[in-house]
Symmetry: C2
Subunit: 363 residues, 2 copies
Amino acid sequence: MARTGAQKLPTLDTPLDDAALKARVYPLSEEADRALRETLASHVPYIEEVSRYIIFSGGKRLRPVLFMLCAAAAGGEPDPRLAAIFEYLHAATLLHDDVVDEAGLRRGRPAARVRYGNDSVILVGDFLFSKSYSLAVEVGDHRFVTALTRCTTTMAEGQVLELLATDQLELDYPGYLEVIRAKTAVLIAAACEMGAIHAGAPDAVVEALYDYGMALGLAFQMVDDALDYVGTAHEFGKPVGHDLVEGKITLPFIHVRDTAPAKPVGHDLAEGKITLPFIHVRDTAPARVRERLLSLAREGRQRPEAVEEAKELVVAHGGVEATYARAAEYARAAQEALGRVPELGGDREVLLSLPGYVLRRRH
Amino acid sequence: MARTGAQKLPTLDTPLDDAALKARVYPLSEEADRALRETLASHVPYIEEVSRYIIFSGGKRLRPVLFMLCAAAAGGEPDPRLAAIFEYLHAATLLHDDVVDEAGLRRGRPAARVRYGNDSVILVGDFLFSKSYSLAVEVGDHRFVTALTRCTTTMAEGQVLELLATDQLELDYPGYLEVIRAKTAVLIAAACEMGAIHAGAPDAVVEALYDYGMALGLAFQMVDDALDYVGTAHEFGKPVGHDLVEGKITLPFIHVRDTAPAKPVGHDLAEGKITLPFIHVRDTAPARVRERLLSLAREGRQRPEAVEEAKELVVAHGGVEATYARAAEYARAAQEALGRVPELGGDREVLLSLPGYVLRRRH
């Protein structure tokens, strides 16, 4: 079993520790939740049911919260109704992604597609997509909706890029960056950018907050990709699969055993997704390790043990630390983007602390 | 084999016959084609390939043509670039529909999902959806984009309604009307409405053209549903499956045999879709026929011969004629909506003739 020492991972100085940060963010995410409940109306009750299933499944409301924080920082009203746009878009993406990935689980429970079927999930995704545009159009601000179209077009391209990159063992760092930029970071950037636009901020502020969101989003996705290699255990330093090795059958295990399809869940490599931890080791490890890694990855889809061994190789050869190092660079870049606009008001401490939180999160 | 006499079907007086109508519409659909070729750009060449496959597969450009006709009728510029919005949306819907329906064929060749996979098709559908919004937002007109969000939200609801209505043998006429209104007619209505909006027309004109498009769209879908019961033969009065019974193996047969999945294609009833021809016979035929029809429909998914027999019952008991009669009412209503706005300019003759063409089309 691979073990990763938490002490090796980079950190970032932040004005607030995680507890203080969460305390300040919590009321915003509550407001977003309320707005989501209020705006999630359809003439078709079934659509509301499927939408609620995906939207109220424990998401952290990162995107709506960022929209409100950036709107306030730029001197505007942090309208939770508009913040909902970003959660709807995110949910639409998750619904379609789960169909594409044939996902069995999402946030620890059966994916919406398992419960409601692929058909429903594709169509409700389309509905949520339209819903987000309906809300955005209410603002009546050309710059606002234009930013949204740029975002959704790039996101769709990102999903396709990711699909095309599947099983491409030779995917390089720029290619990887392009995928995670389009599929994840662009929406987070748009939430920040559109908060500033809604506040009527000048271009320099809009651009700085866009850059902040983009860097934060890249750091966020890199950490996600690193965590995929060290498992979903809530604490680092705990070997992956630890409970199971000790014969403990825990609720997560039972849940997956009873609901998931045969294929492994949450393992990027098992699904042919080539991410930074893999890329780093493939490109820096000794030839012998590289050959072994590639050969295991080629077997990955057929043989779960090959994926396990590949994961151990990646962890043992520093793939996770290297990924965190890159994520830390982007987290710092996010803070620096804020530094370009010292005139920002609102809760600057929270904005400055989020990049550190993203680095520290372990699930 | 069922036989439907063409002489029983209703017609509608129109200023232009089909040949004259086509001659006037052709240049517009050419313009739409050009605009589609010009605007269909993506950073990802693969997206362009899949998009081209669905968009340039012989569609009639009904929606872009209507947008341009209505814009011109309301005294505006018939901008083909904006007309493309409606073809992109239509294509996005077709892509997602084909995944939901597990369609094997579309317009006589393998559906995009057969060729490119469900994954690609879902994501390219999302891209085309965003594309249509990108174009719409360029106009910078709040009323224009608001009309689009109303349209796409209703369309998504319509797709879900259709899904929920699948295998509901008791679906009634109002329920059927709600489905076809949302899934088909709303987009055609929006193309007409938004043409008028773009021309800066007063509300009364915008509403009249919306009503025109809505009625035309309902007639269009009803004819589609009727044609599903009399086959895709190019001429009426020719028994369905005629060639095959006589042992002629034609290209359409070879194509379907070699490319389609095992399940029958284009047969609504075989896919559990309850449409007006069925509803009419279920509600008006003698009890003995109704019972037989319902029992055959229940078997439909498992036994192709049951679907065949059900189709023959529906045709024999006037389901097709009754559907055409309703379609004719809507076609007349479309003409009447135009009558409300005698001040309209542009090519009024074409707009007045399209409802008749929709009734006359046999494929």
